[in-house]
């Protein structure tokens, strides 16, 4: 049963808007941060905002967005798991957006799955406006931070190459791209990437000048929502992910999901048993930000449990050594070229002098010719 207040609100919102024409198109993309980016992973929000600004992509946060319900919503009730994210799609639609950016992999998964369910399941599209108390035409496309950055791969590459002020600290660093579940499963929402061997994040890593790592645990589950309620499972799953990344030479793991991040970062201490160096866990937006020369503080790199500072210091030092080495090699090459040029000039000078001095019998006096062999000219 619906209470009076609920009905009143629903009519308030639904009636005028339902009669109105479709909203005017809005510029840029709607931004759905989700609870984690406002709560436990503010660095994902900070680094994303900094990177889209640097790349010149306009984003606008959806006003009054609500939690998508991941994962308790759809685990409890299928319809609730569709309706909660659908309200956010309806809000973005009402503002005239045709794309919603949902950086959190769990939110992305729920929003994209809701869009898919409404499009495919019988009767759901007709029921949705009644359930939401809002008009909803399911016209908004959902995409995540990896897809956004992948679309802008060439621009990132160009900007990284053009920023000459500081050497790129990421050059040659080995990064393991970890996708987990929610970016690639179900395959219908993986945005064209291979659900078993996705490469979009690897491509972004390479566009940043770093090297992607070929490893085995890219799409394994980190234990996601059991972080609090069954921590032992999360530690078991996370340990195998971190060990495999390390075995394959990764210097850090790159993620695009706040759940993966907090499981691998906050709980890494419990996963490391043999006193190995901890492996920093970076958001893909932080990686791009570093390559674009944005300061670590702006990217929220100080907010992690596994300190990122030692890695970044090391990378900066390596970049400086690399620049020195490049300078030295260049100077050496220049010196060699100069010496060669000088030698050539000298030889030519000598040749000219000799040619001038022995003007008389033509073929007889080539300096290198043995005495008496001049006749062959």
């Amino acid at each position: 049963m619906r209470g009076d207040a609920v009905t009143a609100v629903a009519e308030d919102i639904a009636v005028p808007a339902a009669e109105a024409a479709p909203p005017k198109a809005a510029r840029g993309v709607a931004y759905y941060p989700g609870c984690s980016l406002h709560g436990t992973s503010p660095e994902f929000d900070e680094s994303l905002r900094a990177v889209v600004e640097a790349l010149g992509i306009p984003v606008a946060e959806i006003p009054d967005w609500n939690c998508c319900g991941a994962s308790s919503g759809h685990t409890t009730d299928h319809l609730l798991g569709v309706a909660l994210p659908a309200r956010n799609l309806a809000l973005a639609e009402a503002q005239g957006f045709d794309r919603v950016l949902a950086p959190c992999a769990a939110c992305y998964n729920r929003l994209a799955s809701a869009r898919l369910a409404v499009a495919e399941e019988d009767g759901l599209a007709e029921r949705m406006p009644e359930i939401l108390g809002r008009p909803f035409r399911n016209t908004v496309e959902v995409f995540n931070a990896v897809q956004l950055l992948h679309e802008h791969g060439p621009l990132i590459e160009e900007k990284v190459a053009a920023s000459l002020a500081e050497p790129n600290p990421l050059h040659g660093v080995k990064l393991a791209a970890y996708y987990g579940c929610l970016l690639v499963r179900p395959p219908e929402i993986s945005g064209g990437d291979d659900p078993e061997q996705p490469m979009q994040m690897d491509d972004i890593i390479n566009a940043c000048g770093a090297d992607d790592v070929d490893w085995n645990m890219k799409v394994e589950c980190c234990g996601g929502a059991f972080s609090v309620s069954r921590t032992s499972s999360v530690v078991r799953l996370g340990r195998s992910i971190i060990e495999d990344a390390r075995r394959n030479g990764a210097e850090a793991i790159v993620v695009a999901c706040p759940l993966c991040h907090s499981n691998l970062d906050l709980r890494q201490k419990a996963m490391t048993t043999r006193g190995e160096q901890p492996l920093p866990i970076l958001f893909i937006t932080q990686v791009v930000g570093l390559a674009l020369g944005l300061p670590a503080e702006t990217l929220g790199l100080g907010r992690h449990f596994v300190a990122t500072e030692p890695l970044i210091k090391d990378l900066v030092a390596r970049a400086a050594v690399r620049v020195e080495e490049e300078k030295r090699l260049q100077a050496e090459a220049e010196a060699k070229a100069a010496a060669r040029a000088a030698k050539r000039a000298e030889a030519e000078k000598a040749k000219a002098a000799e040619a001038g001095g022995a003007a008389a019998p033509a073929g007889a006096t080539r300096p290198e010719a043995a005495p008496g062999a001049g006749g062959d000219a």
Binding site: H38, G39, E130, S229, S233, H304
Partner: protein
């Protein structure tokens, strides 16, 4: 074949569009399941039990609540059976019929989570963890992490309540969900 009434397989097919009988028990789902080592029933066994087992035995199993909804099983099923969706549906039916044998902690977490959304429209992690602790009695859980999270700006003291919270309550009512 012995099947109790109402037939669980038919019910699930009606709810999900997946016919559990199309599962030919290859076990590929279970090979990739991250929780297989901790579960009594692996995904292909859940599929089998839904098809042939007694209704009670399928609905009262704990394993369905250990599912992380990672969807590896469904992505790899060579016959398009979607075990993840079937497990979701089994959980829903078990819940509706009061047969859910959910591990206490996991149930408390879902309940606390949904209560957060229903009251605030957004998740307040601190409120969620507090509520979870009260529900489970596990008061010391992750206490040592709290100062670190707070220092890193990862814990909000106050909930972030949205204006359209009545709309959220409406959605819960329309879906027939009371946390």
């Amino acid at each position: 074949m012995t099947s109790s009434t109402p037939n669980l397989a038919t019910e699930i097919e009606a709810a999900t569009g997946v016919n559990p009988a199309t599962c030919y028990q290859c076990g590929k789902c279970s090979a990739g399941c991250p929780m297989a080592s901790e579960s009594d029933l692996r995904p292909h066994q859940v599929m089998r039990r839904v098809m042939y087992g007694s209704r009670e035995r399928a609905l009262q199993d704990e394993s369905i609540w250990l599912c992380l909804t990672c969807e590896t099983c469904s992505a790899r099923c060579p016959n398009g059976c979607d075990p993840a969706r079937v497990i979701d549906a089994v959980r829903e039916i078990a819940h509706e019929e009061g047969m859910a044998q959910m591990p206490r902690n996991i149930g408390a977490f879902h309940k606390a989570f949904l209560e957060q959304i229903r009251t605030n429209g957004r998740l307040h992690e601190m409120g969620l963890v507090m509520d979870y602790k009260l529900k489970t009695g596990d008061l010391m859980k992750d206490v040592t992490n709290a100062p670190g999270m707070f220092a890193r700006g990862k814990l909000n003291l106050r909930p972030d309540k949205i204006e359209g919270v009545t709309e959220i309550k409406r959605i819960f009512e329309q879906c027939g969900v009371t946390p």
